[in-house]
Amino acid sequence: MTLQEKLETAFAAGLGLPDTTDFASLEYRKIPEWDSVAHMQLVMEIENTFDIMLPTEDVLGLSSFPIALDIVARHVSADA
């Protein structure tokens, strides 16, 4: 499974979205499922999925799927 596919799985689980979602277009607070409460659940799913701990600035900056992909890629490569 690619990093993007794993992240899509985390988004689906964290935000309660179907697998058929257009993940690339997701933005924070642009859909009812991704509010501030769900955001913390999403962060937890991402951290668990990739076994990383995101710094607060990344938690606050994680505002879309593409940005999340960049953030995760950075942390995964840093830990490798």
Binding site: M40, E47, M53, P55
Partner: protein, 251 residues
């Protein structure tokens, strides 16, 4: 329940090189916890204390340093814990400073530093700890406030404000984190035998002692045992509470 109430758990105690923090670290370690000790300075005390508990209990304790008046230093405590243990079960926000000052004589610098260490650091640490604890849907956060934060004291307006704010943090965080299985409570020590108290003039000491219904000063161990209760499953249905460890000063 195991006789060792914190067996297998990882606990961070800020300000744990001496006094109440050290007593908490000792009792947590004696009850099976792996303790992450914290001190302000990188060299010396905190490393020695961690080595002491490691030798005593045969478990590798972790020593972390940082001046908690700096928010970045607070956040920097958590990645090493994640890296080494992948979990955090207990956070004790104990580190604190006291700078006396009558109203009209409080410097901006003293006020800012006191609020940063006593109030902002616990807020930031709670935020970081809650994220790690959420992964297991369990955890206990213990804020060490003070009787001064409940009733105030002359010459300690900033300290009182900083410790009262910790109670507000406790109530809000308890509500917010309860659905994630994380409990948040506070301890409000009263007249506790510490280095600072031992330096009080005899008349002041006697006056303070007169206000204690139990007729004796509290010890760091009195506070530590309350922290053990709040950290362990003995208090599994207790959250959003402030426990006075004050020998009846507020009765």
């Amino acid at each position: 329940m195991s006789a060792l109430m914190l067996e297998g758990r990882v606990a961070l105690v800020t300000g744990s090189t001496r006094g109440i923090g050290w007593a908490i670290a000792e009792v947590f370690a004696a009850h099976g916890a792996t303790v992450v000790l914290h001190g302000r300075d990188a060299a010396g005390a905190v490393t020695d204390r961690a080595a002491e508990l490691t030798a005593r209990h045969g478990r590798e304790m972790l020593a972390l340093a940082g001046d908690l008046s700096d928010p970045a230093a607070v956040r920097a405590l958590f990645p090493p814990i994640f890296k080494q243990f992948r979990r955090l079960d207990v956070l004790v926000n104990n580190a604190g400073i006291l700078v006396d000052g009558l109203l009209g004589m409080i410097s901006d610098a003293d006020a800012t530093r006191t609020l940063n260490v006593n109030t902002l650091a616990p807020i930031l640490a709670t935020q970081e700890a809650a994220r790690m604890m959420s992964r297991r849907n369990a955890g206990s956060i213990i804020n060490v406030s003070s009787i001064i934060g409940r009733v105030g004291n002359e010459g300690q307006a900033v300290y009182a404000a900083s410790k009262a704010a910790v109670l507000g943090l406790t109530y809000a965080a308890a509500k917010e984190l309860a659905p994630r299985g994380i409990r948040v409570n506070a301890i409000a020590p009263g007249f506790i035998e510490t280095e600072m108290v031992r330096q009080l003039p005899p008349a002041k000491y006697a006056e303070r002692l007169q206000g204690v219904k139990m007729g004796r000063m509290g010890t760091a161990a009195d506070v530590a045992n309350t922290a053990l209760f709040l950290a362990s499953d003995l208090s599994s249905y207790v959250t959003g509470q402030v426990i006075g460890v004050d020998g009846g000063m507020l009765v």
